[in-house]
């Protein structure tokens, strides 16, 4: 597989996880520093089930998603009652506990050496179609009352409560979906890089996703996707600057967040309506 195709799959798969963070942090204002741990769990569970237990790929992925969703339900029900800053700390603890478990439980996970010999099942088509479906899901949720509730809870939780919105239930649902997204991305990533190691899924990755969401615009789905593409591409493009790479990367982020506090795209969304209109008016002309 060529370098560019591999990179494109990487970005597509990470974007799915970033979409989870978009729902959680962007739409609901909840900062989870343990999102990457769900991706790690998704990767490990699906890989171990396929390699050691010879389960079919699809079933293994499904089990990994359901496990992470259930874990998110437990963690979410316990931690989403507390204030949002404590939620960030609690998820941080959860994430670090999960990576510690992956590192220490050597007999199953391979420890810090990582888990290898995973077959390559993530075809380019699977990765890109998955991303498209993930975007569709987030777009749909935003159009339903769950999207409106998110915005309401983010801007005034008390008012949302007295409007009859069950805030805890809403947050748990969103947390579960975000975790499922991360888990699915993890499974795709495991069968793409054919290797899993605990380091990839620490809190730094979770923070990177939050930065991407704020960089692209927490109110813009389009911005989040383009933000993910830019920020995952940037390290590769900046490769020629060698040691200065990280510094330049950080300066770009700082500039964007200072110049455009609502993110690169603000609330702007890519829309096909103007195109459709153009198409329709042309049709009428033909008629």
């Amino acid at each position: 597989m060529g370098f560019y195709l591999t990179l494109a799959i990487n970005i597509a798969v990470f974007s799915i996880a970033v979409l989870g963070t978009f729902m959680l942090t962007g739409m609901n204002g909840l900062f989870s520093l343990g999102q990457a741990a769900f991706m790690g769990l998704g990767a490990y569970i699906s890989a171990i089930l396929v390699v050691n237990y010879h389960l079919p790929f699809a079933l293994a992925v499904l089990i990994s998603i359901l496990t992470c969703a259930f874990l998110a339900f437990l963690v979410g029900s316990a931690t989403l009652r507390i204030r949002q800053d404590f939620f960030a700390l609690a998820t941080f603890g959860f994430g670090q506990a999960v990576t510690a478990f992956m590192t220490e439980y050597v007999s199953v996970t391979g420890g810090a050496m990582g888990f290898s010999n995973i077959p390559n099942f993530t075809t380019p088509a699977l990765a890109f179609i998955s991303l498209a479906v993930a975007i569709f899901i987030v777009w749909s949720i935003r159009r339903s009352h769950y999207g409106r509730d998110s915005l309401a809870i983010r801007s005034n939780e008390l008012a949302a409560k007295v409007e009859g919105i069950n805030v805890l239930k809403h947050k748990v649902i969103i947390f579960i979906i975000a975790a499922a997204f991360a888990a699915y991305a993890g499974a795709l990533m495991a069968f793409h890089t054919r290797y899993v190691e605990p380091n990839m899924y620490g809190w730094i990755t979770s923070v990177t996703w939050i930065i991407i969401v704020y960089f692209g615009g927490r109110d813009s789905l389009t911005g989040t996707i383009i933000g993910a593409i830019i920020l995952y591409l940037a390290p590769e493009i900046l490769r020629f600057t060698t040691a200065w790479r990280i510094l330049i990367y950080c300066v770009i982020i700082l500039l964007i967040i200072n110049i455009r506090p609502r993110g690169l795209f603000g609330t702007w969304e890519l829309s096909f309506k103007p195109l459709l209109k153009l198409f329709r008016s042309k049709k009428q002309e033909v008629n």
């Binding site: 569709f136 899901i137 777009w139 749909s140 949720i141 159009r143 339903s144 009352h145 769950y146 409106r148 509730d149 915005l151 309401a152 983010r154 801007s155 005034n156 008390l158 008012a159 949302a160 409560k161 007295v162 409007e163 009859g164 919105i165 069950n166 805030v167 649902i173 979906i177 109110d219 609330t267």
Partner: protein, 260 residues
């Protein structure tokens, strides 16, 4: 005067640490009645509304609504049972149009599940369209139809207040709690507001608890008034009785007025 009681508050006490915000308040609200709670700042008026709407539980006492003690219920549960409220310091949602703000009141009644909304099932769009029309209906009631697509927080204060009232009405409540609806409004706006509340009360048959310290609002609207001072209920009665009550005059003006 033998209408059934919809909401009764029995011996309600709320302590914040050592501070007694509400001390042994009892009162009842009959069907299709407007009652008022007045009193100077810090008298515990808003605390009463907050305990009724479930923002925090009372330290002691019961709040009976539809035969159930709702004093330990969560705010959303209380809303589902049929009590809606507005806030003294307006609490609207950021980045939302007026119409969307009203639509949030329908969220908990939506028939579709999260799975249906994840995959844009046709039912979602159908229901959204339906509640859009219903919400417009409530905007009509508060005369805000032409502002439906405007960002709610960019409206002038008096209109924001009406958006909040419309949002509360969209819950289709039996009991409406209005926390100082006249606060921060000018004289004409207050006049419009009083007319609006009168109209809604007549049209929808609501029972309303109104808090205000503006006498013109309270005296104009309420059938029965409770007077709070330093957490204690010092008097209750009809507007005429309250206006003549020497204890009330003392609480408001700080001194006894001799017959002039």
């Amino acid at each position: 005067m033998d209408r059934p009681v919809v909401l009764s508050i029995n011996n309600l006490t709320k302590m914040f640490g050592g501070l007694c915000a509400v001390n042994d308040f009892s009162g009842s609200l009959k069907e299709n009645q407007i009652i008022g709670i007045i009193g100077p700042n810090g008298a515990g008026k808003t605390t009463i509304l907050n305990t009724v709407s479930g923002v925090y539980p009372p330290t002691q006492g019961q709040i009976i609504f539809k035969g159930t003690d709702i004093s330990k219920f969560q705010p959303h549960k209380i809303n589902h049972m049929g009590i809606a409220r507005t806030f003294q310091n307006i609490r609207l949602f950021q980045d939302m149009t007026v119409l969307e703000t009203i639509m949030t009141a329908y969220s908990w009644r939506s028939p579709y599940s999260i799975f249906e909304s994840m995959f844009s099932f046709p039912r979602v769009a159908r229901y959204e369209k339906e509640i859009k029309e219903k919400s417009m209906h409530f905007l009509e009631k508060v005369n805000l139809v032409e502002c439906a697509e405007v960002n709610a927080q960019s409206l002038p204060y008096g209109m924001q207040r009406r958006v909040e009232i419309a949002r509360a009405l969209a819950s289709e409540p039996l009991v409406l709690l209005l926390d100082e609806p006249g606060a921060g409004l000018n004289q004409t706006e207050v006049h419009d507001l009083v007319e609006l509340i009168k109209g809604l009360h007549k049209e929808l048959g609501l029972s309303i608890i109104l808090i205000d310290h503006r006498m013109d609002v309270i005296m104009n609207l309420c059938e029965w008034i409770y007077v709070q001072d330093f957490g204690k209920c010092i008097a209750q009665g009809t507007p005429e009785e309250i206006q003549k009550n020497p204890i009330v005059i003392k609480a408001y003006l700080g001194e006894e007025i001799n017959n002039a």
